[in-house]
Every structure is written in C-alpha cells, then in structure tokens.
C-alpha cells in the first residue's frame, strides 16, 4: 500500500524503453497513455454509432464488410436486431467509461494535476501505473466480448436486471457477454479507485510552497472534486458488478426474481430483487454524469480565463458550485427510476434535489456568461471549443428541467428526448471539453502547436453537426419515438424516419470532422510548428512556468514557490497583463487571497 509511495525524486528518470513508455511511473506518460486509450475508444465508439445510425436511417442497407465484425450479427452486411442492441450497448459503455471518464479526468488530470499543484509526481506512482494498466485490461476484456461465440451483451450500458442476470436465456451476449462486461467494468472501477487515491492525496499533500487550496487553478479543483466522486461512486459499482457476476457463475439470486420464465425456460433463481441493481447502478450512475462533466467545467473555465485575460467573476463561487454539484449528485439518483413503481413521495424526494442541482449549474453558467460579457476574448480553437461547451451545457441542461419532473419524465422516459438530453449535456459537452483541453495543452504536452485553421474547421463542423444530430432527438422523443428500437414498424413512427435519415447524415458529417481532428493531432505531433516558447497562451498557472515538454520531475532543479492566485490577469500596475503564480512581482490586486 503506502510502501509504494516512492516519489519522482526517488524514482529517477527511466532509461529503458519499457520503463519509459510502457510501464512508466511518470504521471505525464501515464496521462498520455490514458489519452491514447480514450482516443482509440472514442474512434471505436464513434464507428459503432455510424453503423447504428445507418441502420436506423436505411434498415436494409448493406454496409460493405460489416460481416467481418460478426458473421452472425451482420449476415449479408445488414445488422440483425440483436446485434444492433449489442453494438448500442458497446457504444454506450465505451463512450461513458473509456472516453468521457478516461480523457478529461484520468488523462488530463494525470498529466497536469501534479504540475499545477507544484509536485514532482503523484505520491503513489506504482498505484498510478497500475490504475492505467488495470483500466486498459478492462478495455481489452470488454473488446474481447466481440470475439466470444454470441458476441457482446445487448442489455444497454445500464445493464438492467433481470435481463443482465439471467444468462444466455436472455438472448445473444447475455451469458458470457455480460460476464465480460461486468468484469471489464469492475476492473475499470479498480483503476479509477487507484487513480482517485492519487488525485486526492496529490491535491491535499503534494502542493508546493505557497500553493494554498484557494490558489489551485479551477482545473485542479475540478479534478479533485471529481476524484472524491470517483472514490465513492466506483466503490459502489464494483460490488454491484461482483454480485452480477455471481448471479451468472455461482447460481446466486441477487437480482433475479422467483419463477421467472424466459423463452419457455424456468430459471433456477429465487427471490432476487430486480430493483436492487438499479439502486446500486444509479447510485454510481448519476455521480458518473458529473464525473464526466465536472473536469470539463474546470478545463473550460481555465481556457476561458486565459483567453479573456481576466479572472472569472468569482473563483470561490465556481469552486463551491462544483462542490455542490458533486454533493447533490448523490441525492438525485432516484430520478432515473421514476417509472420503476416508485412511491410518489419518493419521486418527490428525488425530484426536489434534481431541481435544486440546477442552481449550482446555473450559477456556473451565469459566472461564465457574466465574465465573458464585455471581455475581449482571444478566438482560437481552444476558446471556441470552450464556448461550444458552454452552449452545449446550457442546451442540454435546459431539457433536464423537464426530465426532473416525475409527471413529465413518465411520458418522456426511455424516449429519444432523454437520449438527446444526456448526449448534449454529458456527451458532446464533455467531448468539447476534451477537444478544448487538447488544443490548449497540446504545446505543453508535445512541444508543438496544433494547426489552428483545421482546429477551427473541426470546431464549426462539430458544433453545427452536434446540434443537427441531437436537437432533433428532442423532437423525436416528444413525438413518442422510443429509444433502443432497431427499426420502425408500420405505425406512428413511420413519419419520423426522414428525421432519422437527416440525423444519420449529420452524424456522418460530424464524424468526418473528428477524422480531421485525428489527422491534425497526428500530423501536429510529429510535424507541427514548434511551440514558440514555454507559455504560448500567456497563462499564469504552474504548467506554463516549466519547460516544454516538462522534465521528468516537472520543474528541473528548482521547485516552484507560489506567490499569487492562479488567475492574475490585467492587474493594474503590473508590468504585463498577466502575473504568473511564481512571479515575485509585488502588486496590489483586490482579488488576491489574503
């Protein structure tokens, strides 16, 4: 446990390829490994969404080569209904866990949290290395389910019982596929718990001289708050996955009720609680939404401040609001279960905090908008994606008001309205945060700049494309289009098919924009223009005061001492329009922490 708490100073710079690039203890390398994992997972998840969208728009269209993915799931290169559900499940699982959690939290957090706090490394580098490789193993286990006889599970990323717990009687992938899914997620939980342990301890104990908690940048606060959420949420999902696996392999009855007959087959379980899974899952699941988005709140604030050249209206209130979001996220999980036969009083009890949680969200948005008002924002790819994040967060958040009401949610539950809501507020917004962070920190991570022109093209195509995909989802939901249907029979859904076709075209268009990003990323990594200096955006936090890319122990021979708040821009009487945290320049700023 703590015996592994060697520090960067004691684990000197590695010399072998394996220790330097594979089993590295360096938080920066581990951060890049997480980013690479998230990138591969995102491309795979996007590829799956393309297949699903094409199938929804043109159900009988043969996608050349699709049978290579599964000869039984796509005979004649056309998806079977079951395989559509299997791909949908994998899309959701990969995106939520291995992209939206991995990139903004584990990847950027690993790379920049120690640097922004002024530490040489995480306090438990062996655990940090393990966290990545355990997470990576989880991804491999999940991907392995494509190669088992009946393919991956089809139960959706939420894996509701009893379907997820009854074994192969439930359909393709409900046997081995579910076991692999649950094993993968349990491994992922272990990885994130190890990561959270490091993040929390780094923030509390590893800060450099002068770095008080309130002098931490908003990104560091966001990662800290997220790690606290991760610690408590993943510690609950892991036992849930263990119980689910036991229902499969040990014949227990945690989640399967008595006398259940599936496909003319009487199941040998007795007395299990189907709602128990929902309770355990959503106790994790709703904080997970904030685990995905809170790092984005920090990243976007960090980028906007740097480009506005002025601090946010209130640094403290932003921190308190992110903390309030985290605390409230545990009190609202029942709103995912309004249609589970819940007592109306319980519905009210979950509805109220769901409405209350919009208050800190609104405060964050108002601080952003109020700070942006009148500022001379530097327009670049990073700031555009930050603005896009704000837009998506508002658009997706507004529909949350509707879904927070049990009476409305009962009508909209399990429709495309919900899918549109969470894709905008959690999926696209978080992705925009990842893109913004990539364009912003790329020079520090690699020593090269990304191409700005292609970055802006990427932004505008993604921004327009994402709205073209997900705003019609709300319309579809209000029209009664149920989610997770693989095709539309001859009923009221027929008139909605043109909308689906439009969405599919928009999805392909938006996906193409991501390929532009990928090319820009790879090209810039090797051939991009060298970063002009260590601080190309004229930032103030510690990552900009060290070399590019940072040395093994982050700061070279001399550890930093912090004298200023993180965002001292446009300070009256200062020699430049920004004062770095390590600057010894004495200025009077009304915003400075006393």
């Amino acid at each position: 446990m703590h015996d592994m708490s060697t520090h960067a100073a004691s684990h000197g710079a590695p010399t072998s390829f394996i220790r330097k690039h594979v089993f590295s203890l360096d938080h920066k390398v581990i951060g890049k490994q997480y980013y690479a994992l998230a990138l591969v997972a995102a491309l795979f998840g996007m590829f799956l969404s393309w297949i699903m969208r094409i199938h929804l728009g043109w159900g009988n269209f043969a996608i050349p080569g699709l049978h290579l993915l599964s000869s039984t799931g796509a005979p004649g290169d056309v998806l079977t209904p079951e395989y559509y559900l299997q791909l949908m499940t994998m899309h959701g699982t990969i995106m939520v866990f291995f992209v939206l959690t991995t990139a903004p939290f584990a990847a950027f957090g690993n790379f920049f949290l120690p640097i922004q706090t002024g530490a040489e490394d995480m306090p438990f580098p062996h655990f940090n290395m393990m966290s990545f490789w355990v997470t990576f193993s989880g991804f491999i286990v999940l991907a392995a389910s494509f190669f088992v006889s009946d393919g991956p599970t089809l139960g959706g990323w939420t894996q509701y019982a009893p379907l997820s717990a009854i074994g192969s009687a439930g359909g393709p992938g409900e046997g081995t596929g579910v076991i692999l899914w649950a094993s993968s997620i349990a491994l992922f939980c272990v990885g994130q718990l190890l990561g959270s342990l490091n993040f929390i301890t780094t923030t509390l104990d590893m800060r450099c001289k002068g770095m008080s908690l309130m002098r931490l940048p908003l990104t560091a606060w966001a990662w800290f708050i997220t790690s606290v959420m991760g610690l408590t949420a993943f510690a609950v999902l892991m036992p849930a996955c263990i119980l689910l696996i036991l229902d499969h392999v040990a014949g227990t009855s945690f989640f399967v009720a008595s006398n259940l007959v599936i496909n003319d087959q009487l199941l040998p379980h007795s007395g299990g609680s189907t709602l128990l899974w929902q309770h355990l899952f959503w106790f994790f699941g709703h904080p997970e939404v904030y685990i995905a988005i809170v790092p984005g709140l920090g990243i976007v604030s960090h980028i906007l401040i740097t480009n506005m050249r002025k601090p946010m209206l209130s640094h403290r209130v932003l921190i308190y609001s992110m903390g309030a979001l985290a605390a409230l996220s545990y009190m609202v999980y029942g709103h995912h279960m309004f249609v589970s036969g819940m007592n109306p009083v319980s519905s009210l009890a979950f509805s109220f905090p769901t409405l209350v949680i919009t208050i800190p969200s609104t405060i964050v948005v108002l601080i952003w908008l109020g700070s942006l008002y009148g500022s001379k924002l530097r327009i670049n790819s990073a700031s555009l994606f930050a603005l896009g994040f704000v837009s998506m967060f508002i658009s997706g958040g507004v529909s949350g008001f509707f879904l927070a009401q049990p009476s409305i949610d009962i009508m909209l539950h399990a429709t495309y309205f919900v899918v549109g809501h969470f894709h905008l507020v959690m999926g696209v917004a978080a992705m925009f945060g990842i893109f913004g962070g990539t364009y912003f920190w790329f020079p520090k991570m690699t020593g090269r700049m990304m191409n700005e022109t292609w970055g802006k093209v990427h932004f505008w195509m993604s921004f327009v494309g994402a709205y073209c995909i997900f705003m019609p989802f709300h319309y579809l939901g209000i029209a009664g289009n149920v989610r997770r249907y693989q095709a539309f029979t001859d009923d009221y859904l027929i008139p909605l098919i043109p909308v689906h076709k439009f969405i599919t075209i928009a999805a392909l268009f938006t996906g193409f924009a991501q390929l532009i990003f990928l090319c820009n990323l790879i090209y810039s990594r090797f051939k991009g223009a060298p970063a002009p200096n260590d601080n190309p955006w004229e930032g103030t936090s510690l990552e900009w005061s060290t070399a590019t890319p940072p040395p093994h122990n982050n700061f070279g021979d001399k550890m930093p001492v912090v004298y200023h708040d993180p965002y001292q821009y446009s300070v009256e009487g200062a020699s430049t329009d920004y004062i770095m945290q390590t600057s010894t320049e004495k200025v009077h700023s009304p915003d400075e922490e006393k």
Binding site: M1, H2, D3, S5, H7, A9, T117, G118, A119, E120, D121, P123, L193, S196, L197, I200, T201, T202, L204, D205, M206, R207, C208, K209, G210, M211, S212, L213, L231, T232, A235, V236, M238, P239, A240, I242, L243, L246, A250, G251, T252, S253, F254, S258, S270, G271, G272, S273, L275, L276, H279, L280, F283, M559, P560, V561, V562, Y563, S589, E593
Partner: protein
C-alpha cells in the same frame, strides 16, 4: 523468531522527513507580499497518512454498498432464511482484536526504536519486529479460522447458492478476507523494512491504521451477519 537488528536510523523527531515534493501542506499559504517568514507550516503531512484515509473511505463505501444490497434484498422477497453462524467466527473475532493490540504494542516499540529512544537493557525494544511477527501470526490465524468456517459450512451442504443468506455470508466474509490479505502484505513489507532499518514512521502508522480498520470492519460485519442472517 530471530530478527536481525541494525543500527536504528537517525530521525529528527521534530521534523519528519518531507514526503511531499514541495512542502505545500494544508495551510501553507505564502502571503501575497511574498514574505516567506510568515509561513507557519514547514512540512506537508506524509502522503501515506492521507492516502490511507482515502483508501479506507473507498473500502467503507464498498462495504456500505454490500450492506445496502443486503438490506434491500432482505426486504424484497420471502426467501430470507435465518442461519446459524459458525462458532469459530467468535474465536476469530477475539484473534483479530488481539492482533490489533499486538500491532499497537509493536507500533510503539518500533517508533521508540527508530527514534533511537530504546532502552539498551530492554530486550523487546532491541527486537522491534517481534510483536509484528506475532501480529502477522494472528492475522494468518484469523484467515485460517475464516477458511475453516467456509469449509465447515460447505461440508454441511451450505454453499454460495444454497440460499441468499449464505450468499451474503460468503460474499461479505470473503470480501473482508481479501482486504485483510492486503493488510497482511503490508505487515510483511513493514517487517522487511524494520529488519533493514529503512522503515518510515508514516508507513508503519498507515499500516496499523489499515489493520485496525480491518478489525473494526470485521466486528461490524459480524454484528450485521448476526443481526440480519
């Protein structure tokens, strides 16, 4: 058990070796005027001290989830059965409590030894790992006792899938035992470091906190099992 004792390392008791890279700490605020003389705290708490509390918080959440599952599952169906707990569990409880006592004794002796405060006439103080070995033996005895309980139940035909009560019994006790094995691993490393005179105080403290927590957790689980099963 023989122990090779080396010269104790010299540790400045007033100022523990910094384990934070830059000594930031909780309250270490350099004033905006840059006057470093006004900094009150000279060192951060060792990360192991904070890290162990974070780890224990995570473990607490895991067992809280298991407990919630037990309560919800018990109320969901009429198949809940009362089971008689194997009597060896009560013996095991005494063993794990005793191991906490011996660990606390060893923690104090090792701390005194490492601080160079040992009495040369006191044989126990010059063999600081002795009580750690006893703790380790008690820990192994606890695991053996738990294993005996599982074997005993299986011999009577009570398996994981026999009834949901047994399912929870096995899940909770095995989960606890797995966590306890982590504590045993920690003890082995501490003993190794004591014998090589490279032990950090924070390492010993964190290990003992973890071990004591395992004891408290077991008492809680026994109470839960006794009440609910």
């Amino acid at each position: 058990m023989a122990t090779t004792v080396h010269e104790p390392p010299k540790i400045d008791l007033d100022r523990l070796t910094s384990q934070g890279s830059g000594n930031g700490g909780w309250r270490n605020l350099v004033p905006a005027d840059g006057d470093l003389h006004r900094v009150k705290d000279h060192h951060a708490p060792p990360p192991a001290s904070t890290g162990i509390w974070v780890a224990l918080a995570g473990i607490t959440m895991t067992f809280a989830a298991f407990t919630s599952a037990l309560v919800v599952r018990q109320g969901s169906a009429p198949d809940w059965q009362h089971i008689t707990l194997p009597s060896v569990l009560y013996f095991n409880t005494l063993v794990i409590i005793a191991s906490s006592v011996t660990l606390e004794v060893s923690r104090r002796r090792v701390a005194a030894f490492m601080g160079g405060l040992q009495n040369k006439d006191n044989h126990a103080a010059t063999n600081p790992a002795r009580w750690l070995y006893i703790t380790l033996a008690l820990g192994l005895l606890f695991v053996a006792g738990q294993t005996f309980a599982w074997v005993q139940l299986r011999a009577h035909g009570f398996k994981l899938s026999t009834n949901i009560s047994y399912s929870f019994f096995y899940v909770l006790t095995v989960a606890h035992a797995l966590h306890l094995l982590g504590g045993l691993g920690g003890l082995v490393r501490v003993i190794g470091k004591v014998n090589r005179s490279v032990l950090k105080r924070s390492t010993l403290d964190a290990t003992s906190r973890y071990w004591h927590f395992m004891g408290v957790l077991w008492v809680y689980l026994l109470f839960l099992l006794w009440m609910k099963l």
